[in-house]
């Protein structure tokens, strides 16, 4: 188990060569994901379930002219390879022409990335258990109940086409989150992060944050919903800004189906639409953001500035829409970085006469795609700020709000921090965001949920 069990670059070259040789289509693309995943879940201060999974999946996409289809398998004997190629070709022959299919690309040049760490790849269950014990033992000694999840992956992605493109990259990722509750069920706190290098993870520190918030949030009191000044920890900021980052499709904007459509036609490209302190970019070579050097078609991901000084600089163009509109395809590397400032969370609290300190958001769902209004709740550490200090914990609140409005109401910004960005605490893309103080955040009702 010490050595990573995923395909090497030469194994991928060999496998994709075999598949492409079997292909009788005009265009063929092979995508391979190969990984060793491990996880340990804990609840009630002990391990509950775990898993160690080894899997490699391969998708073959075949095209005859513009008739395209794909098939996926996870077996690689000769018979299985023949099957998967055949299935994708059979489906493709039956498909009507796709006028948006542009064929497969030839060789490309890719960024150098360094997202793979042996410390993560070589992780064993004993070490996972020790890392978790640093949280559970703290909780037991403080008479609290800890739950949480540690998950990691070390693996490779590969794309190869009949046009001669070959791309291969490895990466390793870890996500750790913990929710600590009081035995009487009146307090709950959370801490979490994601890293690529196991050595960057301090589970004890995150456990301490969650335990402190659990104790601090006992016996929460009611506050009135309405518009509030909020100090948002980076996880909450990432939860909101991510909603906007998922809406950057240029095509939807051009078709009048998105917030980024301009009223009367066209898009909002080039328009200032949020505070001038907002700048968001992606870059596979930026060591603060770990993201893939290529997308599923083998299109290289490059440095892209999406929002600059509050102005929309770029939308997400896929190859087809780029060719339709005379632009370059952008790809979307899925990792991104939002610039911040130098105010600390403590300074934000000290500057606030009346407001709420928020840890994270939960059950975030779309309400209105025209304005990117979503609804969700606060969770695991919500506190009243009065006269520059934390006064007491408050009951959680439901909000209906849009990141657009929020990013127009920024008062203070802190230093960007990498977060655990998904609701399920799985292995999520690399998101780096600052803490923010924001005014007029809209809460619509109170919740009794702890």
């Amino acid at each position: 188990m010490a050595s990573p069990t995923f395909l090497s670059e030469s194994e991928c070259r060999d496998l994709t060569r075999r598949v492409l040789e079997l292909s009788g289509a005009d265009h063929c693309r092979v995508n391979i994901t190969s990984a060793a995943d491990g996880n340990t879940r804990f609840a009630q201060n002990q391990m509950s379930t775990s898993g160690d999974i080894t899997n490699t999946t391969m998708t073959v996409t075949s095209a005859f002219g513009r008739q395209v289809a794909s098939s996926t398998t996870n077996r690689f004997d000769d018979e299985a390879l023949r099957q998967v190629v055949q299935t994708s070709e059979q489906l493709a022959r039956l498909a009507p022409e796709d006028p948006e299919y542009l064929g497969e690309m030839g060789p490309q040049r890719y960024s150098e990335t360094s997202s793979y760490f042996e410390s993560t790849a070589g992780l064993e269950p004993e070490e996972r258990a020790r890392a978790i014990a640093r949280v559970t033992e703290q909780a037991v000694s403080r008479d609290l109940v800890s739950t949480g999840f540690l998950v990691h992956r070390a693996g490779a992605s590969c794309v190869a086409t009949s046009g001669g493109l070959f791309a291969y990259t490895t990466d390793s990722r870890v996500n750790f989150t913990t929710t600590v509750r009081t035995p009487d069920g009146t307090g709950s706190g959370w801490g979490g992060t994601s890293v690529n290098d196991w050595n960057d993870l301090d589970t004890g520190a995150l456990g301490r944050i969650a335990a402190d918030k659990a104790e601090g949030s006992r016996q929460p009191r009611d506050v009135e919903p309405g518009r509030w000044t909020v100090v948002m920890e980076p996880t909450a900021v990432g939860n909101m800004v991510g909603l906007m980052m998922n809406q950057l499709s240029a095509r939807s904007a051009d078709e009048g189906r998105s917030f980024f459509s301009a009223p009367g036609g066209g898009t909002r490209l080039g328009q200032a639409f949020v505070d001038s302190r907002v700048t968001i970019h992606s870059d596979p070579e930026d060591p603060r953001i770990h993201s893939s050097p290529f997308n599923g078609e083998g299109l290289p991901n490059q440095r892209t500035v999406w929002v600059e000084d509050g102005v929309l600089r770029q939308l997400n163009y896929n190859r087809y829409w780029a060719s339709r509109t005379g632009r370059e395809p952008t790809g979307f590397p899925s990792g991104w970085y939002m610039a911040g400032g130098s105010d600390t969370v403590d300074e934000m609290i000290a500057s606030t006469e009346r407001g709420l300190l928020l840890t994270r958001f939960w059950y975030i769902r779309s309400v209105d795609p025209r304005t990117i209004v979503f609804t969700g709740l606060t969770r695991d550490g919500t506190f009243l700020i009065e006269n520059g200090r934390i006064a007491h914990p408050v009951k959680n609140l439901r909000w209906n709000e849009t990141p657009i409005f929020m990013l127009n109401n920024i008062e203070m910004m802190g230093a960007p921090v990498r977060i655990s960005s998904g609701e399920s605490a799985g292995l999520t893309p690399s998101v780096v965001v600052p803490p923010l103080k924001v005014r007029d955040f809209s809460f619509t009702s109170l919740s009794d949920a702890i």
């Binding site: 509950s48 999974i53 039956l94 269950p125 799985g426």
Partner: protein, 538 residues
């Protein structure tokens, strides 16, 4: 090749002609041998026994193994083109072990004797590593041994036998019908099919071999005006544990014009005045509210804190204060959990621990009566069951989404039964309302981590005034607190209003897993619910 040419030269399969609207030509077609599991049966038994023997030899007191093949086919279109065609297979095995009261699990895609033994030992090693932190050992409730259980979804037509071009033609015809409605600019439609071949064996001697099918046809037309766009999802058609007959019976093509017209009508609908309203909730909508506010909070592992780091806990805490005394709703309210209704998504012969599922009342005569369990969890209710004179046994709610995932407690099909005393109609529900809103179809949904506060949108909203349906509304969402909401239900529809909704993608667990369940319910009426207006200008 143009579409018409494509149709003319399409190969005709032995199963029938590619003729739409003539489902009788396809009746009775079954192909039990097509796409058999990747690993043939006698080999699966032998492999399973190897895994179980290796686990025991390494020190496990209990072990089970699942050897699965999942096949997933998806066809998706928009307007007049195909946007996706895929046919994917994944196969492998997962071994779960119990070592001195601690679980371990490992899985691999390489289905060979050497690998299955290695992985079984890996699962035991992992359990030992976790055992170091054990505070309370796992105990399993007893269950009957099933030496040779076989089960298959009651399909009439294997969806994998239907040619792709026929599925594409069907979706194109539905799209055309929607696009023919003036004002409709875009439409998407798709079909998803799943076949799960699941072979299970455990160290107690249970062996089961099941074949599970799922099917979902869906469409979503979008109407666009100068400054607004509105969509209307085909929520009258639910995902089912059925075969291709479900696509034909659902008549997406025949229903498409109505969905499209309603999308257009939404553009000029009146934006709702927020306030308190009486609501009539059609079952095409209500199934999701039932799912979020009754099905989820009654998951026993959630109540015990096992999901706190993701999906949350439950307001049903401590459970002793709720079982037998908490009034969920009026005394005619019955909520039943089951995995037996033919065609429902969670229906199986045996669960993923080899337990034959039971039907049980979660809410009985309006009072919380029982909770969802696996073999590990049933003993947590031992005191309650003893006080009721019931056996301590698992309800059979264990499920894993694939070979690579560990099985754990998932909700079964959960149904709100129709009004018992007479067959109340939707008209009768409406007639008793001065100022209200009728909601059809599920839309946005969001619920807090203890299942107290939730907010729901829908697909189509109509005003109710003085006992009659009025014009269309938009920007509607309602917010509820679970106990008040169901106790504000003063009447429900009878059997004639019954509809089975459901979902493929219910999420829980870490790593997250998807579960598929059906929720049957009637229409209902609720008094004095908070309604908000969701529109914003930015």
């Amino acid at each position: 090749m143009r579409r018409r040419d494509f149709l003319r030269t399409t190969a005709v399969t032995a199963a029938g002609l590619s003729v739409l609207g003539r489902p009788e030509a396809l009746h009775g077609i079954l192909s039990p041998t097509a796409h058999a599991p990747v690993v043939p049966d006698p080999d699966r038994r032998a492999l399973a026994m190897r895994a179980l023997d290796a686990a025991r030899a390494a020190g496990a007191q209990y072990a089970d193994v699942r050897i699965n093949t999942n096949r997933n086919q998806a066809v998706s279109t928009r307007e007049r083109r195909v946007t996706g065609l895929s046919d994917n297979v994944t196969s492998g095995f997962g071994v779960r072990v119990l070592v001195e009261g601690t679980w371990g699990f490992a899985a691999s895609a390489l289905v060979t004797p050497d690998e299955i033994e290695r992985v079984a030992r890996q699962a035991v090693a992992q359990a030992r590593a976790n055992r170091a932190a054990q505070l309370r050992p796992v105990e399993l409730a007893p269950t009957e041994v099933e030496p040779s259980g076989v089960w298959r979804s009651p399909i009439r037509i294997d969806p994998f036998d239907i040619p792709i071009e026929e599925k594409v033609e069907y979706l194109f015809a539905a799209n055309e019908a929607a696009l023919a409605v003036p004002g409709v600019r875009f439409v998407t439609s798709n079909m998803v099919f799943l076949r799960e071949d699941k072979f299970f064996a455990n160290t107690e001697g249970t062996v089961t071999d099941q074949t599970i099918f799922r099917c979902l046809p869906r469409m979503n037309p979008t109407a666009v005006s100068g400054s607004d766009f509105q969509s209307r999802n085909s929520t009258d058609i639910a995902p089912m544990g059925l075969g291709y007959e479900h696509v034909l019976d659902s008549d997406l093509i025949g229903q498409a014009p109505r969905f499209a017209e309603e999308a257009v009508e939404k553009l000029s609908a009146t934006s709702v005045d927020p306030g308190r309203y009486d609501l009539v909730l059609l079952p095409t909508h209500l199934w999701l509210t039932l799912h979020e506010s009754i099905a989820h909070p009654t998951e026993l592992d959630r109540i015990f804190g096992f999901e706190a780091n993701y999906a949350g806990t439950s307001f049903i805490f401590p459970m002793e204060d709720f079982l037998g005394s908490f009034r969920y709703g009026p005394d005619w309210m019955q909520v039943v959990g089951e995995r037996s209704t033919p065609g429902s998504l969670s229906t199986v012969g045996w669960d993923d621990e080899g337990v034959k599922p039971q039907d049980y009342h979660i809410v009985k005569d309006g009072i919380l009566n029982d909770l969802q369990t696996t073999r590990e969890q049933a003993p947590w209710l031992a005191d309650w069951y003893r006080s009721q004179g019931r056996e301590v046994r698992s309800h059979g709610n264990s499920y894993a989404q694939s070979w690579a995932d560990v099985q754990f407690q998932r909700m079964p099909n959960i149904n709100l039964m129709p009004y018992p005393d007479r067959d109340v109609s939707v008209e009768e529900l409406i007639s008793g309302i001065d100022r209200g809103i009728l909601i059809d179809g599920d839309g946005s949904f969001s619920i807090d981590q203890q299942r107290f506060n939730s907010q729901y949108g829908g697909q189509v909203f109509r005003e109710i005034r003085n006992g009659r349906l009025g014009g269309m509304l938009k920007d509607v969402a309602y917010q509820i607190r679970t106990p008040e909401f169901w106790n504000a239900m003063d009447l429900a529809g009878g059997e004639s209003t019954w509809f089975r909704g459901g979902a493929f993608g219910d999420g829980k667990g870490q790593p997250a897993q998807s579960n598929a369940i059906s929720h049957g319910c009637p229409a209902t009426r609720h008094r004095d619910v908070t309604v908000i207006n969701t529109a914003r200008s930015v």
